[in-house]
Symmetry: C2
Subunit: 270 residues, 2 copies
Amino acid sequence: MTRLKHYRVKPDAPFRLADIDPGETPFLPAEEHHQRESLELLADELDHWQNLLHAEGRRKLLLVLQGTDTSGKDGTIRWVFSRTSPLGVRVAAFKAPTDEERAHDFLWRCHAVVPRAGEIAVWNRSHYEDVLVPWVEGWIGKAELRRRYAQINDFERLLAETGTVLVKCMLHIDKEEQRKRLQARLDDPSKHWKFSMGDLAARQKWDAYQQAYEHAIAATSTAHAPWYIVPANHKNHRNLMIARLLIKVLRDMKISLAPANPAYAGLKVQ
Amino acid sequence: MTRLKHYRVKPDAPFRLADIDPGETPFLPAEEHHQRESLELLADELDHWQNLLHAEGRRKLLLVLQGTDTSGKDGTIRWVFSRTSPLGVRVAAFKAPTDEERAHDFLWRCHAVVPRAGEIAVWNRSHYEDVLVPWVEGWIGKAELRRRYAQINDFERLLAETGTVLVKCMLHIDKEEQRKRLQARLDDPSKHWKFSMGDLAARQKWDAYQQAYEHAIAATSTAHAPWYIVPANHKNHRNLMIARLLIKVLRDMKISLAPANPAYAGLKVQ
């Protein structure tokens, strides 16, 4: 479990994304049937913790998933939460902003879907899109970028101070892995619905996006909202690592249920 | 499978809630280990259908769950969707309306959380609270009640005509079963968080609520948004019947995936 720490980006320390190999699999059992079993056990355990969080009804958990196209955000949600009741988990997917969203500040649509008491929210992409895309596309300059980092840190501090535990994961794959996954989507007609030509355009800017991620993560990995770099070339590894991470975070929350209500003692229902 | 029809409330036919025994278990295998296996198989199958619905990305499914306190709305969601990814299932729980909600028409908060294309939405209570509670409490008269039924039918027709398949289930338990369940919550301090004194107040009006349900269901079970009465004294039966019902509905939708995109043929990712 201590190894998770290695993948947490330390605030105020130099950080290079390239130092972490996307092909690493430190949380993966060697045998494939063990991988499946482990994931099922962890998914069940996660459901247990989510129940407790829901019963406590006080604090919240926010999991932010970021990563390039095909890095496995959907797959992570599918597998890590395969046994968790949708009662207590709410997924929000952030696409290119609508006109209505664009007419507000960039945190407006995010604030609207933060988890409520007792809930886990999972964000498939997030407010980080608004520092990655505009920077790479050249729509904003350095001063605005820094201002947004500070706004993000303030926003996340508000959430943390009001009972939300934040976990931010970057699903880290390499360029060759993305090529394979995009090609697989093209080669299988039943997967065409997952593909868009925009994916290829973004791929042209791979290096710029990697740099933007590195820069944004370094600026926003804080004690109250840390970033984790998840080696994600191997899908089972990605799922197992994130499941472990969430369970560790939930354990550390030391969730305690409300005490018995003395007013109910001895009450008989007629 | 044909037996499901028996529990569907026919439009324009006399309907008496008392004709259906809450203790019936027509969808329950005799042996308990078979019950568990069946439910797991059905939950897995439901996940399969939900994936297809998501991939189709066109139509929507709305499951409305209504029933008295302790009738098992939460439990249904927990078990029926135990294997379904939260990616494609969104749960909305309707409580007593807030001031903001009260400042709008009663369908406003519901319309805001209808399922989007490819999604299953599950409503834990619903717009039906606004014909049940105000009627039983005497806040509205007959004319307003009828107006609301018509507004509900219009709203549901809009949803149906714009690609939403609606399934409405009343979880049908009897008064003695409710007594046991409330008592169990009182007797187990770890369940006190689920209990409120308001539950006892509502129980005092059991008969009035049963009549209000019967009346509302008769007035709003339509071809495009049918009500099903689910015998729910037995929890496994309730879960199995609803899982079967949803699978049948999804099968009948004849979901077909988007055809391959010819523009993608032979494309190579660089």
